[in-house]
């Protein structure tokens, strides 16, 4: 069991805090066993350092190929949109342009090539009348179709009832003929 207050290897590898290092230094002065252990670690590291680093056989570098680089216009465009200030300026400019365009359009009025109010009213009335006429025709068609459908269903129902009545009477006649008629029990 080690007598040192901290792991000797942590001390040797300088992984202790400063106060811990100082505590270990103090301990090392009085402990021959720990000094021997430390000496062995130093010798081991010295032996390991006999393997020197090699030079890299071929330098590594990357080439900036112009083919893959963006054009000057593209770089300006990217830089423009990459800047918050520029982006704010562009937004403000677009907003101003929209406001100006709206104001100019309103100021133009009918003289600028638009329709008069009477013409607009007339066209609206015409469009509404056409729409109502289309709606009336469509409604008439729907009522007619529904009436036809109801009539057809009524006819079908009459035929079905007639068929059922016929079948019921035939069954009754067969039972009477075969003598299988059973008088209902009277209470």
């Amino acid at each position: 069991m080690s007598c040192s207050p901290f792991d000797l290897r942590d001390y040797y590898l300088k992984e202790l805090t400063d106060p811990q290092q100082r505590q270990m230094e103090s301990h090392m002065q009085d402990c021959p066993a720990c000094r021997l252990e430390l000496e062995q670690l130093r010798l081991t590291q010295a032996a390991l350092f006999s393997l020197r680093d090699e030079e890299i056989p071929q330098r590594i570098a990357f080439v900036s190929d112009p083919v893959f680089e963006p054009s000057a216009a593209r770089r300006w465009w990217n830089a423009f949109w990459g800047s918050p200030g520029h982006l704010g300026f562009a937004s403000a400019a677009m907003l101003s342009a929209a406001l100006l365009a709206t104001a100019f359009t309103r100021m133009g009025g009918p003289a600028a090539g638009g329709l008069s109010s009477a013409q607009i009213d007339s066209r609206i009335q015409h469009a509404v009348a056409a729409s109502e006429a289309r709606q009336t025709v469509r409604t008439t068609q729907l009522v007619h179709e529904l009436a036809q459908k109801a009539d057809s269903e009524h006819q079908l129902r009459l035929v079905a009832e007639s068929e059922m009545e016929y079948a019921r009477k035939r069954e009754y006649a067969r039972e009477v003929k075969d003598g299988e008629w059973i008088t209902p029990a009277s209470n």
Binding site: E39, T44, A47, S50, L51, E54
Partner: protein
């Protein structure tokens, strides 16, 4: 005292804005370290160089995802670690990731010819490193050769600090037994 005119963090910021020159300067500062890290965990110069190129390309492509430029080193080594282990998996797809053995066939060749140490010692060290498990060897490489702190190693290896320490200290005990079997001196 030596001051760097431009810090890594400045180069990283410029590189994220598209400056390839800045990134190349950043590479020139790190390529040797990354190459040697990869060489020591793969044991193969060709693989180490290919992987280093892939690492710097991947780092460039993902540089914008690096939240703290001050943590560039562990982030870069994390990429290097992942690239190396992807290579091991491709070569041995049937082997589980925890038991992957790097190709250590050329570890002995990595002994420096210009070293001031005796060649026998360098060979003994290379041999001792080869006998470690891949995890232990990587822990030694990251701590002793690359000088990372435990928390950075944990980030690179994606494991707790306790695991990092366990791997490293086990490896150091094995290496110490082989490389520093000294007799006590001045000890009663």
């Amino acid at each position: 005292m030596i001051f760097r005119a431009v810090e890594d963090t400045d180069l990283i910021r410029q590189a994220t804005r598209g400056s390839v020159e800045s990134y190349n300067l950043l590479i020139s500062r790190w390529e040797k370290r990354v190459y040697n890290y990869l060489l020591r965990i793969t044991g193969n110069r060709e693989d180490a160089l290919d992987l280093a190129q892939d690492v710097f390309l991947k780092a460039y492509q993902n540089l914008r995802k690096l939240d703290d430029p001050g943590r560039f080193a562990p982030w870069l080594y994390r990429i290097a670690h992942n690239e190396a282990y992807s290579l091991f998996r491709k070569r041995k797809p049937e082997v589980d990731g925890e038991t992957i053995e790097p190709e250590a066939t050329e570890m002995g060749v990595a002994v420096g010819a210009t070293s001031v140490f005796p060649i026998e010692l360098s060979l003994a060290v290379a041999s001792a490193l080869e006998r470690l498990s891949p995890d232990q060897r990587e822990a030694v490489v990251l701590k002793i050769y690359q000088g990372f702190k435990f928390d950075e190693m944990a980030e690179i290896l994606s494991c707790p600090v306790s695991t990092v320490k366990s791997r490293l200290y086990t490896a150091l005990e094995l290496l110490k037994a082989e490389l520093a079997p000294i007799s006590p001196r001045g000890v009663s």
